[in-house]
Symmetry: C2
Subunit: 178 residues, 2 copies
DNA sequence: ACCTGAACACCGTTCAAGT
DNA sequence: ACCTGAACACCGTTCAAGT
């Protein structure tokens, strides 16, 4: 007689996602996830291969959500503001996806590629098709570095961080526009 | 009768530093460090408070070395190339210092501030004193994001990464120059 | 004064035994 | 077919006992 299912993969990923924001990557333990979904740790292995795979699933869920939001942006400033807002909303997930350490499980290539289409579209509009890739990389590298530093509290020399963000957007858009 | 010292704090930090590059942050275990310096794990606690403090010491050693190299740069391109070369030489240490995750031990504030003086000096020369801080943040955010993405293999859409780097420097320097 | 084995509280993961 | 306790190999850290 089969036991009824006491949890689902979606519930497990959601619990891991919440634990990630609350306690950081190291806080995402199989025991912690198990408690949240109401089973014992060994039961999780019926639905997910291991902890690395679970982290990868959280990374992919994060990128899919981010991609959906970026795709809705019509211009560079909106796109970059959306990106930054996502980082502030889910700082740990942002770091997991954008600046994973060595050994950190990483999202599938296709999921990652999809996240680039919005910035490529907008960069092509500003810089032209020839320089679209380089312009997209300039904008992406800047925004990713800026948001990472902001989340890490790395802007330590005073000044207005919002002003630095606006300064960056204005000068970058100007620089890449033909 | 006292036992002769079998290791030193410097040797412990150096072993941790090497393990970091070889096996990543998770690979820096007290047991692993102990084996490298020729003692048992409990003995390490005579010289360093705990693992977090050891990681912090590695972060500070990394920043001091990086600061020394950046201070020697005379112009923006040299500074940025030096920064990128350091990232490629010590990728795990670069990530530890520039994009630490939540809960990762972080260098002392004074050590971090010292690493900013070179970029501030050069930014002031290009953008003027009024915009020096914003310009420094633009350059730093871009370079940090670019190098992080490069180390993570995040440039996945083909194209020439060196060309994207040169494109970035040229357009940024142009953008912030009065 | 430094070093060590033993111990404790955690991890991730496996597996036989339950329902 | 799913769930669990028990077990194993790891961690970081403490501490009494050795020299």
């Amino acid at each position: 007689m089969p036991t009824p299912d006491r949890t689902t993969l979606d519930a497990i990923v959601a619990a891991a996602r919440d634990l990630l924001e609350e306690d950081g990557l190291a806080g995402v333990t199989m025991q912690g996830v198990a408690v949240r979904v109401g089973v014992r740790a060994p039961s999780l292995y019926k639905r997910v291969e291991n902890r690395d795979r679970l982290i990868q699933l959280v990374a992919e869920e994060t990128l899919l959500e981010l991609t959906a939001r970026l795709d809705a942006a019509a211009d560079a400033r909106t796109l970059l503001d959306t990106y930054r807002a996502f980082g502030k909303e889910r700082p740990a997930a942002f770091r997991l996806v954008m600046t994973p350490g060595a050994g950190t499980p990483v999202a599938d290539t296709a999921v990652q590629a999809a996240a680039s289409t919005a910035i490529l579209r907008i960069s092509a509009g500003l810089a032209g098709e020839t320089d679209a890739l380089e312009a997209a990389r300039l904008l992406t590298a800047w925004a990713t570095g800026f948001i990472s530093m902001e989340l890490n509290g790395a802007f330590r020399l005073g000044g207005d961080i919002d002003r630095a963000w606006d300064y960056g957007i204005a000068h970058l858009v100007d620089a890449i526009t033909r």
